[in-house]
Amino acid sequence: SIMSYNGGVVIAMKGKGCVAIAADRRLGVRGHTVAMDFQKIFEMGPHLYVGLPGLATDTITVAQRLKFRLNMYELRENRRITPKTFASVVANLLYERRFGPYFVEPVIAGIDTKTGEPYICNTDLIGCLNEPDDFVVSGTCVEQAFGMCEALWEPDLEPLDLFETISQALVNAFDRDAMSGWGAVVHVIEKDKVTVRTVKTRMD
């Protein structure tokens, strides 16, 4: 399948006044691992991150196209974009190519700076938004990730607890998937700071 050609997984979770987004770091070509430091999470604003698992070439292209649209928005409106509006921008970019889509299934995580509300959402590859209250997953090991998140997530986790929860969910999910893994990076976004941590994982 095209979506598992390069491999990869991204998870995002909501906590109390914070969100966390985490991804693995593998880039492969079918079974052959080519890089262990491939970036799948991109910063779109001080409080807004987007994860783009799927075909790696589309990951890079969509990240660049989104950054362009974001820059145009900020120049025109003279203000930072809110996560909900950004999600609509992503959905529009993807639905525009309804009959020849980009092979990415984005995950968006951010905090609305005006209200302090955490926001997460993901879309399928043609831009159908899904905005739940708990967690979102996307990538080659969605089934494992869904299971881990359903079991471990609870509402109103503090930032450190959220970090533990999302790390455990991600690492145990991709340990059961041959196409993802080889390191993990976790961003925890709070109102006043963003903490980026790389996690020690199995490298097989």
Binding site: R69, E96, R98, F99, G100, D124, N130, A151
Partner: protein, 270 residues
């Protein structure tokens, strides 16, 4: 974003610039990924004072449930709502687009929108794309000419009916409707029948599940009852979550029982 680097952003509509690349990838043996569908049971029913629309809340991606509580009843106009089945992105975008067009039409005509207007906009869009935009809709509303209910199919054909069902659970829901529908039901009776129909879809169809959403539209206004019934509560969570601390040993020491005075005077205690 097409050919030159200094092009303006596109004005809208679909862009086909990746089709050749994707066709090449498919010819090399890569399988196209599945779009998120809404599986679904959606229903509509005309009762004495208006229209009731109902939907389940499960969204699936292949065999996986990706959203346990999605919204399938979409807003078109203050007096018109539309349930969507089929590819979720298509139903979402088609209803958003028609909703914007209806709003512009309301400004141009200074009148409340009519259900047949929405119907014509939807069917001409879907027919134009020859069924490639996979949206099956149950459209209902109340306007100056009365209550209306229509079923719209992905290729652009429509049916005007007193009760309609669409989606993978439509057979289960239609069975309930065919046996229990009556002309001129009251609101309570109508809600009961719609809930029973959606529940039939939820419990018997694999593509439908979770909760029942309702929307009751009458001349006076609308009632959007999100999660009206929740027949599938989660009953098996560990309330305080899981903990990763490793316990090496634990010992329980029970406390001595108090002495109970059977006869005689109890000792005075300070």
């Amino acid at each position: 974003m097409t050919k030159t680097a200094i092009d303006l952003p596109p004005k809208g509509g679909f862009s086909f610039d990746l089709c050749r690349r994707n066709a090449f990838l498919e010819s090399q043996g890569a399988k196209m990924p599945k779009f998120r569908k809404t599986g679904t049971t959606i229903v509509g029913l005309v009762f004495k004072d208006g229209v009731i629309l109902g939907a389940d809340t499960r969204a699936t991606e292949g065999e996986i449930v990706c959203d346990k509580n999605c919204e399938k009843i979409h807003y078109l106009a203050p007096n018109i709502y539309c349930c969507g089945a089929g590819t979720a992105a298509d139903t979402e975008n088609v209803t958003d687009m028609v909703s914007s067009q209806l709003e512009l039409h309301r400004y141009a005509t200074s009148r409340e929108s009519r259900v047949v207007t929405a119907l014509t906009m939807l069917k001409s869009h879907l027919f134009g794309y020859q069924g490639q935009v996979s949206a099956a809709l149950v459209l209902g509303g109340v306007d100056v000419t009365g209550p209306h209910l229509h079923a719209v199919y992905p290729h652009g054909s429509t049916d005007t009916l007193p009760f309609a069902t669409m989606g993978s659970g439509s057979l289960a829901a239609m069975a309930v409707f065919e046996s229990r529908f009556k002309e001129g039901m009251t609101k309570e009776q109508g809600i009961e029948v719609v809930c029973a129909a959606i529940c039939a879809g939820i419990f018997n169809d694999l593509g439908s599940g979770s909760n029942v959403d309702l929307c009751v539209i009458t001349k006076g206004g609308k009632e959007y009852l999100r999660n009206y019934q929740q027949p599938n509560p989660r009953s098996y969570t560990h309330s305080k979550g899981y903990h990763f601390t490793t316990i090496l040993s634990s010992k329980i020491r029970s406390l001595r029982n108090h002495v109970r005075v059977v006869e005689g005077d109890a000792m005075e205690e300070e």
